[in-house]
Symmetry: C2
Subunit: 418 residues, 2 copies
């Protein structure tokens, strides 16, 4: 119980510090980020030592090789964190940007300007690099941060936060600008979700199970990095060589991420020509295919796809395949079964392409490109804090702008309302 | 129980119809709005008859004169509803507006375009005109609507929805584009808050008690029309004649609305000169003043303000007054006790004005103007569906744009990720 009280206290400290960051200049925020990069570099040996303790515990607890890899901070990853912080320094500061301006007939000048959100809570799992990546983005956008990382990474995270605290002191900003919940008690998450008095938003990073739990139980508004059940639809008029390259890239290039394709829809007209060819190529890359009846008649090695398959995000070398009548059926299928993340049509028909872009209701809709491009860097937004599949506030890759809100500022000369 | 099942069914119908509205053209949506205006005009006698039944029941139940007035639909108010619908026809359609465009080095063209939110739930209280006003805005932005009005207005609302349904039929749109929950069972609201499978957003209009209940219990994202504890701060360098006009207008012109001022802060330097004068003028308009010690020493008729007063929204002819040291103390007070709605400084000092605009963290911050201007029409956005004091998605007056989300559409020529 005593341990949990600290969560409210830290949330309050973050809320208070957010008032100071609210008006911090770009120069000040960049000085802070430079200090963080410097201290990370100086302390890299100590960071690795802390991380080795986490790794030893994790090995002892029998963590899987994949999770052990995610937990590891070697020299290369520390260098990547430092490079990431430097990237954020170079991004334009969204705060004070004027996004709209009107002069009214009564002479009032009404401007809409970007301002920080305030206090941001981040709840994340194994990867300790999120501590630095997320904090850097939040701080650049003028937000204070309350961090709650995975218990396996607690020593690494504590060390990284120590580095941030030193940097805050260097540039004379309050320590509360970044606070870290250093208990492994799982109840600390539930406690954090109650801090709507102090926190303006919570961003969860991690498994869908964690994210759903947070969405259901948080009194603080949540912006969630959603599931990616992404589709590629190969239209009847598609250039089949391009189509094969796009499908292969979307499925195989990095199957464990949310913008990888999980489903392939193929127009009936080209199924016989296209499917055996792409199936061969996917098979050689180790992809398991699950198909509807028509697909299985053309691809012998495909196993049957169940109704449940059409809804699933595999994050693995698995792809479900369906033959459709036309672009209309493809759109209907995607809007019904998809997760509204990223979907692509490969087509030679301009009207079909435009119809797909208009009618598919997803965060990112493509014509003739791989779904793998849904990403802050690829979209030219700089680093991202996640990819939202929600419709409110932010949709798609969330960069610095999505970590701000706006306010109206109005210049008058004594106007009153009639 | 049977009655409550209908809520889920209607939410599902609205969710389904939203798919049709998602791609409806501006011409189609405007034709619908014209049909609504025509039917409202034709059926105005029947609307008044339904409303008279509601009024008779309400009188019988002993509703207060203020609530009876809100419930009343006379000829003038029907005409206002029709004029409101025509205004919405003339507003630009936000759907398909391109809000950003980038060409990437790899040749991908990435556009961010506005699209409808989808299915919107509106929960409102006594005023039946909200049925038409809110539906018109939602429909113009391409959204389907599930309406839940106050039980006192159930006959008026049912009649108005009948008018909308006729209009939907006229232009061949599905009846599910607008559904109305016609049970007075209070549990219907709780049922509506569970429809996250079908509804994308819920917008509550009404008392703060209703809004807080909805925010706390909804699994659907909520955008709330917040409380307005608005301040006017009269700086040491203010033109005191302008200051008096602004304070008087902000407090007295329409005290029952959220952008009316509830608090007056006065710089110590001008308190002796300004306070007795404005107090006299406010008193003559029937305003009760509540003051801190310094105010009470200057204004004999002011009663003591308690700590609780600084937090309160009166929506009445009451104003609490405090003498402050300087602009810094004013800003601190506003950020601490205010509701982040609308706050104004009256000053002759440009630096103090700019500091106030920068540091006060509210939806609308003014220099030398009345807080009463925080309004969709006054800001030039056209009609508004509410004023958000939240930070996510929408902040300040919410017009058509705030009833949309965005998606990324990407044109490629076969690009795959390296």
């Amino acid at each position: 119980m005593m341990e949990l009280k600290i969560v409210g206290k830290k949330a309050e400290a973050v809320g208070k510090a957010s008032g100071v960051l609210y008006t911090a200049s770009t120069a000040k925020k960049n000085a802070l980020l430079r200090a963080i990069a410097t201290h990370l570099s100086r302390e890299s040996a100590a960071i690795r030592r802390a991380n080795e303790k986490d790794l030893a515990n994790a090995r002892h607890a029998g963590l899987s090789p994949v999770l052990l890899d995610r937990l590891t901070l070697d020299d290369k990853r520390v260098a990547q964190m430092i490079a990431g912080v430097k990237d954020v320094i170079n991004l334009p500061d969204p705060v004070s940007q004027v996004v709209g301006r009107r002069r009214r007939p009564n002479g009032l000048v009404i401007e809409k300007v970007r301002v920080p959100l305030g206090a941001v809570g981040i709840i994340y799992e194994a990867r300790p690099n999120v501590t630095i990546d997320a904090a850097a983005l939040c701080l650049k956008a003028g937000n204070a941060v309350l961090l709650r990382g995975g218990s396996e990474a607690i020593r690494s995270n504590a060390k990284l936060v120590e580095v941030i605290k030193k940097s805050l002191m260097d540039v004379d900003l309050p320590a509360g600008c970044v606070e870290f919940i250093d208990t492994t008690d799982r109840k600390a998450v539930a406690e954090m979700l109650k801090q709507d008095r102090f926190l303006d938003i919570i961003i969860p990073r991690g498994s869908q199970k964690l994210i759903r739990y947070i969405q259901k139980n948080s009194s603080v508004p949540v912006i969630a990095h959603g599931e990616g059940n992404c589709h590629v639809y190969v239209d009847g008029s598609a250039d089949l060589r391009k189509a094969a390259d796009i499908v292969f890239n979307a499925k195989v290039q990095r199957p464990s991420v949310c913008n990888a394709a999980e489903k392939l829809l193929v127009h009936g007209k080209v199924a016989r020509k296209f499917l055996p060819r792409i199936a061969e190529r996917l098979k050689s890359a180790g992809v398991q295919l699950r198909g509807d009846a028509r697909t299985r008649s053309l691809v012998k090695y495909a196993i049957p796809a169940t109704e449940d398959d059409w809804y699933r995000e595999y994050l693995d070398l698995i792809m479900a395949v369906k033959v459709v009548r036309d672009v209309g059926e493809a759109i209907e299928h995607i809007n019904r079964y998809g997760s509204h993340h990223s979907d692509s049509i490969v087509t030679g028909s301009r009207p079909n392409g435009e119809r797909f872009l208009r009618e598919v209701d997803s965060a990112a809709v493509y014509v003739n490109a791989s779904t793998r491009f849904t990403d802050g860097y690829e979209f030219g937004l700089g680093a991202e804090i996640g990819i939202s599949t929600q419709k409110l506030h932010a949709r798609g890759p969330m960069g610095l702008e999505e970590l701000t809100t706006t306010k109206y500022i109005i210049h008058g000369r004594g106007q009153v309302r009639k």
